[in-house]
Symmetry: C2
Subunit: 127 residues, 2 copies
DNA sequence: TCCATAGTTCGTATGTTACGAACTAAAGAA
DNA sequence: TTCTTTAGTTCGTAACATACGAACTATGGA
């Protein structure tokens, strides 16, 4: 098992952050992680929302978040504990993460609203 | 020549925006475009900064920006005029684009400072 | 009608990502 | 100690994405 790689904060790039968060699964993981203090793979993400994502894929996603500098990972016994590096990143790129997280909230709210409307329409047509 | 595709603003996604701007070339194009009112491929980007980027590649990058909803393109005679859709996007995802553009500024400034320091060190060692 | 300019499309070579199978590593039970 | 369970990683491969040169389209002007 190769050692965990965490870039120093000066080596964290905007491109890297945007790329990491441009994947819907990673974005969902990061949103979750920014809310709670700490997360690991099995406890939270093996059956995400609707579909379930394979462990190997999740492992790669966590690695991507870690190597982009978004997340700090530590092995505790058999588990991996992941925490957001949001304080460091906020210092380096002020406002970036809050704006992205907020945009995700806006989008989630919009989608929920659209779904509700669609369901209402379906009920009307059905009955 | 297939018609230009512009997603309506409700169909623009955070993931799409982040992915589009996670490429350094597209980010540079978009930074330029957000500064000036309007841009086309040949006049501005065929010899970007140091290296020159092939036309076909630039064409694809502009398409990516357009289909992510970041840019509006219009053919004027033989030229293509591109403008940022920043007002719409600001309405839908408030603060997102300013934060990303600011982060790119911070990064560019940091890189310039690091380069200067490196050159100074090289001068000291050389003479 | 011919040519130049601006940009697009296509084919291919190269890179990236997803996922199952096989693995490592720690913790606890027998 | 050895077996088993749990948590996560790594590897191989198939599917998808991207970059770039060559060939193309479309417009404007000589």
């Amino acid at each position: 098992m190769r050692p965990l790689i965490h870039p120093s904060i000066e080596d964290v790039t905007v491109e890297g952050i945007l790329h990491a968060l441009s994947d819907p699964v990673r974005a969902a993981i990061y949103v979750e992680l920014a809310g709670s203090a700490c997360t690991n793979i099995c406890s939270n993400f093996l059956q995400m929302s609707d579909r379930s994502i394979p462990k190997s894929t999740l492992s790669q996603h966590f690695r991507a978040l870690r190597e982009a500098g978004l997340v700090h990972s530590e092995r505790h016994g058999v588990e991996m504990h992941n925490t957001s590096r949001c304080i460091e990143i906020e210092q380096r790129f002020p406002g970036l993460l809050p704006a992205i997280l907020n945009a995700h909230r806006v989008q989630a709210a919009d989608r929920a609203r659209a779904l509700k409307r669609k369901q209402a329409t379906a009920r009307k047509q059905g009955g």
